[in-house]
Symmetry: C2
């Protein structure tokens, strides 16, 4: 059993009880408290994010740029926003890379004494295929630095196995992801420079399981292109153990992934015109593309449905924004950021005035607050609104990274804002076959859309 | 993809950057920051809560008071703490109620025109059985008040169907649980007073699914005892729909649950003696018993393993507490609170000096902070430590309910403290067959134990 809380956690009462600086409470008004309460009530009683996500993940599924599913997702986004009766819904054309995993993806460990083991692997996004079977010995390293320090003959003709785990000591899992990411992004390119035939990379995950995690990797412009595969964390631990006992073992890798010609695709944009300052634009978005292994539920179907939900919440509550609010479903965040770049480029071409841009791309988990990229004065102004979000547990406003799709807008906006939610479970499923609808909790998802709508409402009312 | 955060979220730096009142930062010291960092590092790198919970839920499972599993859990708790090399591990005898669900538990809707439907039901804890099949018409109400207002002939000989949902508008789900709980606790007793033959109660859940949620109900001392069953939320919605079309339909209920003689059981207690003030005691606990339907994972295996982990973390980090710290695995929280009452009673008998008591009984989800029951000055003193927990996202310290097992200690302690974690998913699985180990995330669980240990460390150092 669990008995009820008696936290004075709702309404203005709570706002006045908070431990926030006085500067903040001075800013808060009953009108704003009530408006935000209306937004949360609508989201918790009638939120649509969850059912929209059920369709996107279940009926369309994984949707890598250039795939038929990505195109279905574009049409789904357009039609869904058109049904919402917005002031404007349109597509923004953008050319995207088209990489395909192909049917073959497997790896076998062959011990020098005949012992064998199948590894759970997947190609990293952008990798070349193996062109049949590629068999070689393996050299394990913990970092790009360790690789650089090795004599060439230790690496030549082998697979370089990058096995540095994510650092479990960071409470914020995104930090650990960032620190371990260089192996995945540049491992193959650096390995090729030293004469290696391929790269095997430990999956970027804090979980111990059998899911390989894909993700983007890059080759040097004129460097040799060697195949790059991710191993599940369990698989990486097993391979490392086997190597200790048998350094002569070989791995046989077969992957049929390939790069195809670029394809035409679209950002999907819906907007509500501002009632007072229609020329001032606040953008909120997530990315519509996803990796191909799972359903792209937390990455980033949740960010897309929450962004659309912000517009629906403003309409349903009758809180017409004084400034224009746009939901942008960006294409190609995962392997090119072409959609984000195109959106910023067009904003410049059209001479649009962008006030702020917000992105949700950390999953649809319980909201914690927002990470803000802006000048100190603007950060402080946004922080004066913390008390209004505190009753909803979404009041952690701090300087921090916003989002990959909105960063290209940096020079054109007052503030870039990243929606910040609980990060503990995200990297367990990130870029895997396990990123599916059943991992999303309805209330956690709808609370996220509500907190985004609340901050968008305040910016649209007070400006920046 | 998700790019790394650059939140200055760790270490003293963050403490100094927080928006907390100055009073607080004045209190914080580098030594305390470093000690707390050590606790979190140990928990995140080597935490044992998760593997302990795997055993308790997987090898023992559901463990209702009086059951063989409850006794196995007592022995498991004793042995596990003995292996930790504590200063003292002992059992505290307590007599507990022994209720058994029995093999039969089913309900059939029979339409007056022959239409039928099977309902997902379970007996509420403490209910009498149906003694064969019990068939009657159904009258739906939303509240005890609505029932009281009905003319007797509308109720006599029928099942009273309490169908008020939990209020989805509360962000803190515990509030919604508290508000809807009267139907489950007193529904049958009130229905019997009006001549009803039984009570059917909508499950206390914010999810829409087929799991019936059990939980404690009570009869009046000298009142008639009629059977009480919970319907899944989907089942309750279906029955309500059917009643609109066919008010003469009947429900046939069969339940073989029964009350057995009281049984001897135990609270399991382990302690580390305080280095300076051994006579001053800080208790931390969860409840060892659980309902029988699932594995008692989030309710409350997590609270038990976290409480044991607090002792392990203090030992492993070498942060010997200046005051005595006790982990208490309380028996019988679910249907009697005999263990909690016995612990408080013995504390008085033995003339023990209890400084503070903390309980974790809201699941093993990501920590948010603590709910404190104490005089305003003590609450303020505890709140001066908020900045030390802020880097770990566990800094919401507010007045609020602590825990059912520690409340009997209220008159004997300076502060009762409830560990507060994310509440969104808890009631989806609470008291159901779905409260299983796979619903627990390793990092979320270990972070909880670390935040509990951090606050216990501060209380043991500074007192209250």
């Amino acid at each position: 059993m669990r008995t009820p809380f008696f936290r004075r956690a709702l309404g203005l009462a709570a706002v006045l009880l908070t431990t926030a600086p006085l500067a903040a409470t001075a800013q808060t008004t009953t009108t704003d408290s009530l408006a935000i309460r209306k937004i949360y009530d609508e989201a918790l009683a009638h939120g649509q994010s969850y059912e929209n996500l059920r369709y996107l993940t279940g009926q369309i599924g994984g949707r890598l740029s250039g795939s038929p599913q990505a195109e279905q997702a574009v049409q789904w986004g357009r039609v869904t926003m058109e049904k919402m009766g917005l002031d404007r819904v349109y597509l923004q054309e953008v050319m995207v890379p088209h990489w395909e995993r192909g049917a073959k993806e497997k790896a076998q460990v062959k011990g020098s004494k005949g012992k064998g083991l199948t590894l759970n692997v997947c190609a990293l996004g952008g990798s070349v295929g193996t062109n049949g079977k590629l068999k070689a010995q393996v050299i394990e390293v913990q970092s790009l630095q360790e690789l650089a320090a090795l004599p060439a003959d230790k690496v030549k003709g082998k697979f370089v196995f990058f096995n540095r785990p994510m650092n479990p000591l960071h409470v914020e899992t995104g930090r650990a992801y960032g620190e371990a990411g260089d192996q995945r992004r540049s491992g193959a390119a650096e390995a090729a420079k030293r004469g290696a035939v391929g790269a095997l990379v430990r999956s970027l995950s804090l979980a111990h399981d059998d899911f390989p995690h894909t993700g983007m990797m890059r080759y040097d412009e004129n460097g040799t292109k060697v195949p790059a595969a991710a191993l599940s964390t369990n698989g990486a631990d097993e391979l490392s153990q086997l190597l200790k006992a048998d350094s002569d073992l070989t791995v046989e890798l077969e992957m049929s992934c390939r790069q195809l010609p670029e394809t035409k695709s679209y950002n999907v944009i819906g907007e509500i015109k501002g009632s007072k300052y229609p020329a001032e634009i606040i953008s909120i978005g997530g990315h519509l593309d996803s990796w191909d292994l799972g359903q792209g539920a937390h990455d980033d179907g949740t960010g897309c449905t929450q962004s659309m939900e912000v517009l629906r919440l403003l309409k349903a509550t009758g809180l017409r924004p004084e400034r224009t609010v746009r939901a942008v479903l960006f294409m190609n965040e995962e392997n090119g950021v072409r959609g984000g770049n195109k959106y910023a480029e067009q904003a410049k071409v059209l001479g649009e005035k962008h006030l702020a841009a917000m992105e949700s791309d950390g999953g649809g988990f319980t909201p914690r607050g927002f990470n803000i990229e802006a000048d100190p004065a603007t950060v402080r102004k946004i922080q004066t609104w913390q008390p209004l979000l505190r009753p909803y547990g979404s009041a952690e406003f701090q300087p921090g990274h916003s989002g990959t799709d909105i960063e290209p807008l940096k020079s054109q906006v007052k503030a870039l804002i990243g929606f910040d939610c609980d990060s503990q479970r995200y990297f367990d499923i990130h870029h895997t076959a396990a990123d599916t609808f059943d991992k999303v909790n309805r209330r956690e998802l709808e609370l996220g859309g509500a907190s985004m709508a609340a901050l968008v409402y305040l910016i649209s009312k007070y400006g920046l």
